[in-house]
């Protein structure tokens, strides 16, 4: 594999404190340098992204007195993709008195991540989770409550305690609106300057420090230079590299990728989460996939016909000709096995030719038994809005006919490498939320991304970035600073290039083709042969893109095709790194399943002796293979075991 990458020095998290795990976060906070409130006014921070991770950080740093400049590509910060999260947010409140604790949430998350995350980070996340709920309630987030007026909880994603707080099926929306309102309060107070419809296209690094960004005003096309003492990327995940995913249409890797090209290491890019319960693809015009909340698996039963090619109406298929395969293979967890396992099992039965619906890419999620057991009104009360959404999209009535579901790309555990302070390998560049790689290892548990986004933004970053800013303010810069000038020039040159190719193929046609390659070879199951083929095809496609893409119009206007072209160009580079990462990790763990590494009965097989590390990749010049830096992972508190859900 020497042709595809080289190995460099190992990397260490220098900021991680030691000592008893429960005291590490206190220790780090105490050790971090503080900034005198009077000096904060003199320090500026750029925050790119206004999802949970970005909006919460902007509001909190604004309140603390720093000068914050925020960016998002949508027309309002309230529309960041966090808005779409449905199920809920975890917190170790133990309001249910069911044996939950900070330690148990920590344990579940490390195990759920299949032992590829850091114990210190995960422990801190669990500690902070408690404060998140308090903060959100104080802001007016209308969580579900019981008749006594106290907060309701549910169990989620196969854990045995009820620690998930929720706001009907719209938890992300309500949490984001809370953070958005706090952000707008700071805009009114003059501590945060908000730039909507602005896309970050380059990072400015001066004397080894992140000092600003180049952003394009998406209405006028103006290429703007913004400086600050520190830059925070809270730009979300890169699932759209697969074209079809549950992400919003605009989700992208550009901000992270540009930072990567400027020296920030990219960690575990191949760790992707594929969610088992999404509405299947209906045709090749399909632009995105819709998630159906995982909570449906609490009462719905998943099955396919026993016989291949059985295309009878599902209601006509008798019980003994149905295969409730999750209940059969995993008798103790049944339909509630973790996401990665449920997804792969669905793929396997479809590969056997037993899939249902158009193209045979679907399995049934059947509520007939639940309706019999609970009565239709109870099912309606619990899942009514999801059933309505399903019916709106598919035109089928799930009370009558079983739903069809299929796995879809949902979340990316990989992201820019950060230390315990959430600082990347470029001093002054911090990364929060889904954009970093930090807390979920090789697989994320349900309701933990919202927790991480808000933990990072409200509580972690505001207590670590001060350690860096205490050395500021740094030297004043202007647009003639060579590094800034060079960054702006490169952005202009790239845009000019995209507009001048005037080829035959639309941006979307390239994006779709890339998505097919990634889904086929770097999706739910990966192997050496396929990944090598994928790398070859991605290179060819990237080459064709730069020769043959058609982007009409000019830069000096709102130009959605141009925006998309820039994002797809970066996906075409990221995709190759994902495949290299997947190829080098010759083990199965969490969402990463290598067909060469499985147990006799087809379960994922980890190789802790060889792969218990974070793979952090360094960009080298175009055409040169990337350099791998390994961060060894050690487990002092949770014993490393193979997961078993049988």
């Amino acid at each position: 594999m020497i042709d595809l990458y080289t190995e460099g020095d190992p990397i260490r998290d220098e900021k991680a404190p030691d000592g008893p795990i429960a005291e590490r976060w206190d220790k780090r906070r105490f050790g971090a340098k503080l900034v005198n409130p009077a000096n904060r006014r003199k320090l500026s921070v750029i925050i790119v992204g206004t999802g949970l991770a970005g909006a919460s950080a902007a509001a909190t740093l604004g309140e603390a007195g720093y000068r914050v400049t925020s960016f998002c590509y949508q027309d309002s910060p309230r529309r960041a993709h966090s808005i779409a999260a449905q199920g809920g947010i975890n917190a170790a409140k133990n309001y249910r008195n069911d044996g939950d604790s900070i330690y148990r949430l920590f344990y579940d998350t490390v195990k759920g991540g299949d032992f590829r995350s850091r114990e210190s980070n995960v422990y801190r996340l669990s500690q902070v989770s408690v404060e998140i709920i308090d903060q959100c309630v104080a802001q007016g987030v209308p969580f579900a409550r019981e008749y006594g007026g106290l907060l309701d909880n549910r169990s989620f994603g196969g854990v045995q305690v009820s620690r998930t707080f929720y706001a009907r099926g719209q938890t992300g929306q309500q949490l984001l609106i809370g953070a958005y309102q706090a952000l707008e309060r700071q805009v009114a107070a003059g501590t945060v300057e908000m730039n909507t419809r602005h896309e970050m296209l380059e990072l400015i690094v001066v004397d080894g420090r992140a000092r600003g960004i180049i952003a394009r005003d998406m209405v006028t096309g103006e290429i703007e230079t913004h400086f600050a003492d520190a830059v925070v990327l809270a730009t979300g995940g890169y699932g759209n590299v697969f074209y079809l995913s549950t992400n919003a249409m605009g989700c992208n890797v550009t901000a992270s990728w540009r930072a990567h090209r400027k020296g920030a290491l990219f960690a575990n890019p191949c760790f992707t989460q594929i969610h088992p319960t999404c509405i299947p693809v209906s045709g090749d015009y399909q632009s995105k996939l819709t998630l159906m909340s995982e909570s449906l698996r609490n009462d719905g039963r998943i099955w396919v016909p026993k016989r291949t090619g059985d295309d009878r109406d599902p209601r006509q298929i008798p019980e003994d000709e149905r295969d409730y395969y999750l209940e059969r293979i995993y008798p103790s967890f049944g339909n509630l096995v973790p996401r990665d396992i449920a997804s792969r099992a669905a793929k396997n039965v479809c590969d056997e030719g037993r899939g249902v619906g158009p193209g045979g890419l679907g399995v049934y999620l059947d509520f007939a038994d639940a309706i019999k057991r609970m009565g239709r009104p109870a099912v309606e009360a619990k899942y009514g809005n999801l059933f309505d959404m399903y019916q709106r999209i598919t035109g089928e009535n799930p009370y009558e006919v079983p739903m069809r579901i299929y796995p879809a790309v949902h979340y990316t555990m990989g992201g820019l490498w950060v230390d315990y302070d959430l600082q990347s390998t470029i001093p002054g560049l911090f990364v929060t939320g889904e954009a970093n790689f930090s807390d979920h290892g090789a697989n994320r548990l349900g309701a933990s991304a919202l927790m991480q986004g808000l933990a990072d933004g409200y509580f972690v970053l505001p207590n670590t970035i001060n350690d860096y800013l205490a050395a500021g303010p740094f030297e004043a810069l202007d647009e003639n600073t060579p590094a800034a000038k060079e960054a702006a020039e490169s952005v202009r040159a790239r845009i000019d290039k995209l507009l001048s190719i005037k080829g035959d193929r639309t941006v979307d046609s390239f994006h779709k083709e890339l998505g097919h390659i990634m889904w086929d070879y770097c999706g739910m199951e990966r192997n050496e042969e396929g990944l090598r083929k994928a790398i070859e095809r991605i290179r060819e496609l990237r080459d064709e893109f730069w020769r043959n893409v058609r982007v009409l119009g000019t830069n000096e206007e709102l130009n959605q095709a141009l925006e998309k072209a820039g994002r797809v160009a970066d996906f075409l580079e990221l995709a190759e790194l994902m495949c290299v990462d997947a190829l080098h990790r010759r083990e199965s763990c969490g969402g990463h399943f290598r067909s060469e590494s499985q147990t006799e009965d087809g379960e994922a097989l980890r190789h802790d002796d060889e792969f218990a590390y974070v793979a952090a990749w360094e960009y080298t010049d175009a055409g040169q293979p990337p350099v791998l830096h390994k961060e060894a992972l050690e487990y002092e508190y949770v014993e490393m075991k193979q997961r078993s859900y049988k």
Partner: protein, 249 residues
């Protein structure tokens, strides 16, 4: 299905704009309305014509980015967002007219894209509870009666799409404003700022060139999230109460 589209094309804020007719063949009833526009845009680009610009992001009816007027109705014939409208709501051979939101407070940027920044400024004026990070008491310190929490939630589901403004003959933004006033006003945490909030938000609403509310109800009829009209009554009661107690801000 074969569809004829009449689409508003406008190059920029200063362009006069005009309706242009396009044919979209082979439309599947399972396509969403925006996927049908994607198909049109692919075709236009291959023919050398610039694609039609429209706002969208989540395509699941929750971010509030999408929204166009379809045959005279905000978000089209079903009570849902434009992204969740599917072509099975139309017939083969239909001619469909597509226009941007039309309101003084929402100037057109290009084609079907408008500037809804006025909504953010209404929130800035007072659509929040002042609770700086780190100051919160335990979440169970203040129980909230379930009925109040539910009403707060219902109002809080507003996605800020602007259909209410587009549908209102006065182009009023009162339903949007009232949804936020109701959400925060129903919660105990929202009480200290309740009077100041309603005055500041309504003042900002009026400064933004939205029209006044004359209780026509078109807003609630098109609202994809079912924000009820009685939130506006609640806003009016709060406003009267605040003014009667002598507050101006």
């Amino acid at each position: 299905m074969n569809i004829t589209l009449r689409v508003w094309r406008q190059k920029g804020p200063d362009d006069k704009g005009r309706m242009v007719t396009y044919q979209v063949p082979d439309v599947s009833p399972d396509m969403s309305f925006l996927e049908m526009l994607d198909v049109l845009n692919e075709k236009l680009q291959l023919e050398g014509e610039e694609p039609v610009a429209f706002d969208h992001d989540c395509r699941e009816g929750i971010c509030g980015a999408c929204g166009v007027v379809i045959d005279g109705e905000a978000h089209g014939p079903e009570t849902t967002t434009t992204c969740q409208l599917h072509m099975r709501s139309f017939k083969d051979g239909d001619t469909i007219t597509v226009e941007p939101w039309r309101a003084k407070a929402f100037p057109v940027i290009k084609d079907l894209v408008v500037d809804r920044g006025a909504f953010d400024r209404i929130i800035q004026a007072g659509g929040y509870i002042s609770a700086p990070t780190g100051t919160a008491p335990d979440a169970h310190a203040m129980p909230v009666p379930k009925a109040d929490a539910d009403r707060a939630f219902d109002a809080a589901t507003c996605i800020g799409c602007g259909a209410c403004v587009a549908a209102c003959p006065n182009a009023s933004g009162m339903l949007f404003t009232a949804a936020k006033v109701t959400h925060l006003g129903m919660l105990p945490q929202g009480q200290p700022e309740r009077q100041a909030r309603v005055i500041k938000m309504v003042n900002q609403h009026d400064e933004e060139d939205f029209g006044g509310c004359t209780n026509i109800g078109e807003c609630a009829a098109v609202c994809p999230k079912g924000i009820p009209l009685d939130t506006i009554s609640q806003l009016n009661r709060d406003l009267l109460g605040a003014l009667a107690s002598g507050r101006t801000e």
